[in-house]
Symmetry: C2
Subunit: 339 residues, 2 copies
Amino acid sequence: MSPSPGLRPTATLQAGLDLAEAVRGGDRLALSRLLSWIEDGDAEGREGLSALYGHGGNARRVGVTGPPGTGKSSLVNRLAKAFREGPGDSGAPTVGIVAVDPSSPFTGGAILGDRIRMTDLAGDPGVFIRSMASRGALGGLSRTTGDVVEALDAAGFDLLLIETVGAGQAEVDIARAAPTTIVVEAPGLGDEVQAIKAGLLEAADIIVVNKADLPGAENALRSLRTTIDIGFPSAKDRDLGTTWVPPVLATSALKGEGIPDLKGAIEQHWAYLDRSGEGQRRERRRLEGELLACLRDQSLARLNQSLPDGRLNQAVEDLLGRRRTPWRAAQELLAEDER
Amino acid sequence: MSPSPGLRPTATLQAGLDLAEAVRGGDRLALSRLLSWIEDGDAEGREGLSALYGHGGNARRVGVTGPPGTGKSSLVNRLAKAFREGPGDSGAPTVGIVAVDPSSPFTGGAILGDRIRMTDLAGDPGVFIRSMASRGALGGLSRTTGDVVEALDAAGFDLLLIETVGAGQAEVDIARAAPTTIVVEAPGLGDEVQAIKAGLLEAADIIVVNKADLPGAENALRSLRTTIDIGFPSAKDRDLGTTWVPPVLATSALKGEGIPDLKGAIEQHWAYLDRSGEGQRRERRRLEGELLACLRDQSLARLNQSLPDGRLNQAVEDLLGRRRTPWRAAQELLAEDER
C-alpha cells in the first residue's frame, strides 16, 4: 500500500527509507534514531520499520522476567557476555538488549538500565543496549517494544535479550512474546511473592533461581522442581523431543556461577523450538496478536474520523448521566457509522 | 438499542433483567451469579449490567495497590472493618471488596483473597468480597474488573475497595481507575523495589507505609515525604482546596495501628474530589477510556465478520513471510473492507 500523495507523507517516507538503509549498513546512530521514532510513534518510524521488515526474522529472541529484586539485570549482563565469549553451539553472536524499565515523573525517565549495565558491557561493539521507559499506556508499550525488537532483528543482531523490570501481567506478556522465556526467582522474597511466582511459572520455558548463594536457595530450588513435576506429569516424554519440561537452574549473577548451564539450556530450548515446530507456532500466535492489535487501533481511528464532530463527547455525557453502559454506547456509535 | 430478534437473545435479555431485579432486591446469590456472568463475558452479564447501570454512580471507590509483600490484603480488611464500625464522617457504609489476584494453572485459580480474609470479616452481612483471578489477557481483566465494580455500585454498596495484588502497570491502572488511589509500601523491600516505588507514586492520592513496626519504617517515611516535597513544590497551596498533596501515613495492619488516620485521609480526599471538581473530571476520563476500549473491540468484531473467510489467515501468512508489517497489513485489510 503506497502512502497518500502530498508533500509531508512523501518526505516522511523518504526519511524512513534513508534511515533504514543506514541501519542496514551498520550505522548505530541511525539505529538509535529509528528506535526513538518508533518509541515516539512517529510515521517515520513506521516507514523505516516497514522498509527493514523483510530483513528480519533471523534473530533468536529470549525474554527475561520475574519479580523485582531477583537480579535480572545482572543476569542478562552475564548472559550477554557468555554468548559474546562463545563459541558454544552458536558461535559469537552480536547481542541486542532491550530493557523495559519503570519510569517516574519524580525521577524522570527510566530508572535502572543503561546506568547499571554500562560498566559491564561498555566497549563491546557487538552489544547494543536500549532502555525503554514504561511511561504511559502499557498496551502501547508492549506494541512499541515489539517494534523495537523487530528493528533490532532487521538491523542484523543475532541474539535479542528482552528484559522486563517488574512482574505484572503486562510485563510478563512482553517477555512472553519471545519464543524463549526465562523466569527469574530468588530465595527469600516472602510469602506473597511466592504466590506471584506461581502465576509466573505458566510463562516459563526456563526457570532460574538467581542469588543461589543466599540462604534458602536449596528450598526454593526444591519447591520449584516439585511444582514443575506436578505441572508436567509426563516429564518422561522429555527425551522424545516433542515436549519441553522447563528446567530449574541455580545461578549467581554476582559471582558468575551457573551461567554456562543457563546458556546451554537456552540453546537446548532453541533446538526444541526448531525440531518440534513449536517455534513456528509461537511466531504465528504472536503475529496474529499484533495484527489484531493494529486492526483495533486503526478501526477506532477510522471511526473517529467518520463520526460527526462532538458525537463522541455526547456519548461520554450519556455515560456520565448513566443513561447507558459504555458497551451499549459503543454499539450505538458503530450502528450510526454503518448507516 | 434493542437486541436482535430471535429466541436466544430474547431469553438472554430476560435472564439478565430477572437477575438485575433480584440484585437490586438485595439477593446476594443473584449478585454472585451476575458477577460470574460478567467475568465469563456472557451476554446475560452485559444485559444485567445494562439494566442495573442507571442505579449506580453513588458508591465511593478506593483503589489499593503497591508491591507484593506490603500487606495490602490485611490493610484492606482493617479499612473495611473501620468503615463498618463507623460512624465517622460517613456513617456505617456497606462495603464491597474486589480483590484482583494472580492465578496459576499449577495451583488453580486465585491464590490469595477469600481464604485469608474470611477469618476477619466473615459474618458481617454489610460486607461482600469478590476475588478475581488475573488469568488471561490483562486488558480484558481491567475491563471485567470495571464491570464488576459497576455491578457492585449499582447493587447499592456504599464503599468499594478495589485491591490489586502485584504492582505491574496494568494492576496499577486497575487501582487507578478509582478516583481515590492508595499506594501501599513497606520498609526494607530492597533497592530494585525502591525504584518500582518511584513509578508507583505517580498514581498515589494517599501513600501508606504499612508494617510501620518493622525496622526501617522511619527511613521509608522520611524518604517518601522528601520525594513528595520535591514532586509538589507548591505544597503550601494545600489549604486552598484546589490542590491535593498526597499524605504519607504509617500503619500496621497487623497491630491495627494508624487505621483511623488512614480512614480520615480517605474522607478528606473524598471532600477534595467533590469541592474541586476533580472527582467529576476523573470520572469523565475513566468513562472515555472505557468507551474507546469497547469501540476498539466491537470495531474489530465487525471487521472480522465482514472480511471474506480465510482473509485474516492469509494476512498472517504474509506476516510470517515478512512480506509486510502488521501495521501495513492492518491498513490493507481496512482498505479492502471500505471498498
